[in-house]
């Protein structure tokens, strides 16, 4: 029953002064550098699928190594700080590979690499020159399903064959962290994105602001030293995915907050029947409900990010699926309601609300949908 214990008091929900400064700085940065026109420009460009200048700027501010130890070029902060960046990125749909590289890839390396491997990889990640992507799904795409890539060993060399599906930022990453089956075991390999035998095909995605790729491996040779050998690969993968789940929840809160703000501003300005539409209860009450839902979602996401940062693994096992299931549904509902609240204009390509709807729908399905996470929660709570 210890899994039932309430959140430990070590977790604080109030931002420190430093965290508040970080939040303001990042919010301003994305407001300037990830304005809607820029987001659209990047998302409609053929390549590279992200905004490299903005990415470098994030690196310059030390925001790509928040969870990376200082010894490996990071800032040695925590996931609580990274969560602040992710929320603001979600608010603007910032076109940078934070989820793939700073969360999924970094956590997989932190969990699975030897000290030497970490020392070789992570400084580049923190500097923004290495961009990681996690390739762990087969074509069926179930979370934690047997990966579609098989690794076979030949002396000090491994060969990878098969297909990894729905790889986030898979086409633009410099390195792929590949989960592969090796007999009955799972192994993680770090493979350059342009290694011989690797072919990467962009997926036609619903959410153009987050590129996905299908990555095929045909006899790709990987040296044994590029197999993450610091611990059990399954645990490292689990760590990466749990962090990914929490990151998505935080990002969803940012998107929901944006939706509420944008809709509220519109409801104050838009006049129909001689009145601002926000004076009609149909609009006002829906926005009030959205506010309530947003605040709850924010609580769930912050809680998960804080317990992750605090390393409270038992509580994280509850907090992560709680956050992912709850925030996904709030984001989807708010993004869809947003279209309705904006009315006809909200249904046009030129209006931004659809970008949030598509992000909401995609993140709801990514890394396990709400039902999946509730089932996890049920197991943990023995319900």
């Amino acid at each position: 029953m210890s899994a039932h214990a309430a959140a430990p008091p070590t977790v604080s929900y109030v931002l420190t002064d430093e965290q508040r400064q970080l939040q303001e700085m990042v919010r301003d940065l994305f407001a300037q550098r990830a304005a809607p026109d820029r987001v659209r420009e990047v998302m409609l460009a053929e390549t590279p699928g992200y905004d490299d200048a903005l990415w470098q700027e994030l690196a310059n501010y030390g925001l790509l190594g928040l969870t990376i130890p200082e010894a490996h070029g990071g800032s040695g902060a925590s996931f609580a700080e990274l969560a602040i960046v992710l929320e603001e990125a979600g608010r603007r749909l910032a076109p940078v590979p934070l989820l793939s590289s700073a969360v999924l890839g970094t956590e997989a390396v932190l969990g699975g690499a030897t000290e030497a491997q970490a020392a070789a990889l992570l400084p580049g990640v923190a500097a923004g020159t290495t961009r990681l992507a996690l390739a762990h799904l087969d074509l069926g795409g179930d979370l934690l399903a047997a990966p579609g890539v098989v690794a076979s060993r030949d002396g000090a060399t491994w060969h990878l064959d098969g297909t990894a599906a729905y790889v986030i930022d898979g086409a633009s990453a410099t390195h792929l962290v590949v989960a592969a089956r090796a007999g009955d075991d799972l192994e993680l390999f770090v493979v350059p994105g342009d290694a011989p035998g690797v072919s990467r095909t962009p997926v036609e995605v619903l959410d153009l602001t987050r590129p996905l790729a299908t990555v095929e491996f045909a006899g790709v040779e990987v040296a044994e030293e590029d197999r993450l050998a610091g611990g059990p690969a399954m645990a490292a993968l689990h760590r990466a995915l749990t962090a990914g789940v929490v990151a998505i929840a935080v990002e969803q809160v940012g998107g929901t907050a944006h939706t509420l703000e944008a809709c509220t501003a519109y409801a104050r300005d838009r006049i129909q029947f001689g009145r601002a539409i926000g004076s009609f209860q149909a609009v006002k009450h829906r926005l009030a409900e959205l506010l309530v839902e947003l605040e709850s979602a924010r609580s769930a996401a912050i809680h998960a990010a804080r317990v992750l940062a605090a390393g409270e693994r038992e509580e994280l096992a509850i907090a992560a699926p709680l956050a992912k299931s709850y925030c996904s549904e709030v984001y989807e509902r708010s993004a869809a309601d947003g279209i309705q609240l904006f009315g006809g204009i909200g249904f046009t390509w030129e209006h931004d609300q659809h970008l949030y709807l598509k992000r909401a729908k995609s993140t709801k399905l990514l890394l396990g949908d709400p039902k999946h996470h509730r089932a996890l929660l049920g197991e943990l709570l023995a319900l």
Binding site: L137, G140, A165, E204, L212, Q272, I339, F347, T348, L365
Partner: protein, 398 residues
């Protein structure tokens, strides 16, 4: 009386089929003959495509045409004319309008579009500001309309304008038929969240319309527009579909293909909830159709529109969820093209999911529909109005 009507209609169908075998006649010729036999809109007067009988016989006619291999696709492909414009012209047009416009509308020689909504006049249609100023025997029109289905294909448009800004908003409007090929009419594609441009924006710059194309009296445009809109709301969601068709049919298909009997019980229960709601709604259309003895669309039509819109949104969203990770994709990509025809929805569930978001906006938002149901059907009082009984030009707008 019903017996006489049935006899008349059956007789005319047989005469039509004898002279123009549906399967062997080109569409345009067949529709012309159908019009001439009084079978285009059976409730219309003789000579105007009708037979002066109850509109419920139209279903019999259309069924027979389809069974015989003929086409009734003109009702869909020229829906704004045949479904909405024709009734308006019969109710409010002149004899010249009726003689000039109805037949080529029905044969699809001339496509029609509707020019009501504006950027600043959506739910509050009566706030519209596109102006028409009279000069001698014609009018000069300036302004912008949006959400114009088929605007790029249309020959004629149903246009509501502001002709007297000093009257209260509902009193200063006038309704016209406008030639979409006239000078000063600029039709631009309006891209939607699906990546397609099913609608248009239409800009009017000093467009000249002869007074003979005015429909109804000067200042009576609101009443004429209401006739058009009532027809629209009946057309949306009010027709009887087969069980398990449309959005729920697609959801069932995805379920069977990807989940089936071993599928997640939670998703199955959600599917069955939607199935039950869709079927209950469908049975309501069956019941409403059976109950309808007159052809005058009333506020009951709003029930079907509201319910269909909300349910369609839920079902299409659920269907994408059923796709799992494939829900992350958009098969075919965002094309930025202009689809053929009107608002019919096809393609992958992903596109239908996005397209359905507009269901509760177009043809009257769900909020407006609830006002109508609450006030006209349930008899609840309206809200205090700040935009009535004052000149239009003094009412705040955005």
């Amino acid at each position: 009386m019903g017996v006489d009507e049935r006899g008349l209609i059956v007789e005319r169908i047989e005469a039509l089929f004898a002279s123009h075998p549906p399967a062997d006649t080109d569409e345009r010729s067949f529709w012309g003959a159908q019009f001439d036999h009084g079978l285009a809109w059976v409730q219309f007067p003789e000579g105007l495509g009708g037979s002066g009988v109850s509109p419920r016989w139209q279903a019999v006619v259309d069924q027979r045409i389809n069974d015989a291999g003929g086409s009734t696709r003109n009702r869909i492909n020229n829906v704004l004319g045949i479904g909405m414009g024709a009734g308006t012209i019969i109710a409010h047009g002149t004899d010249e309008h009726r003689a000039r416009f109805l037949r080529p509308m029905f044969t699809m020689e001339e496509i029609w579009c509707q020019l009501f909504s504006e950027p600043g006049a959506g739910s509050d249609l009566a706030a519209l500001s596109t102006s028409a100023v009279r000069e001698d025997d014609h009018w000069i029109v300036n302004g912008q309309k949006v959400w114009t289905t088929l605007g790029h294909l249309a020959k004629w448009g149903l246009l509501v304008t502001r002709t007297d800004p000093d009257q209260p908003k509902h009193a200063g409007m006038t309704y016209f038929i406008v030639d979409m090929e006239a000078d000063g009419v600029d039709v631009r594609p309006l891209y939607q969240i699906t990546g397609e441009a099913e609608f248009n924006e239409v800009y009017f710059t000093d467009v000249v319309i002869g007074d003979e194309l005015r429909v109804g009296e000067v200042g009576q445009g609101w009443g004429v527009a209401m006739t058009t809109l009532m027809n629209e709301r009946v057309a949306i969601g009010g027709t009887v579909q087969p069980r398990e068709s449309g959005a729920i049919g697609e959801a069932v298909q995805v379920w069977r293909e990807r989940h089936g009997e071993d599928g997640d019980p939670v998703a199955r229960d959600q599917l069955l909830q939607l199935w039950a709601a869709a079927e209950a709604m469908r049975l309501t259309t069956v019941r409403a159709k059976e109950a309808a003895t007159s052809g005058t669309p009333g506020p009951e039509g709003s029930t079907a529109k509201l319910q269909w819109a909300e349910l369609n949104k839920r079902i299409t969203s659920f269907t994408v969820d059923l796709l799992g990770p494939e829900g992350l994709t958009y098969p075919g990509g965002y094309s930025f093209t202009r689809p053929d025809g009107s608002a019919d929805v096809d393609g992958a569930p992903h596109k239908r999911f996005l397209r359905a978001r507009a269901n509760s906006i177009e043809g009257g938002t769900s909020e407006i529909m609830k006002n109508i149901l609450g006030e006209r059907v349930l008899g609840l009082p309206g809200e205090p109005r700040v935009d009535k009984d004052v000149p239009w030009r003094e009412v705040p707008r955005s």
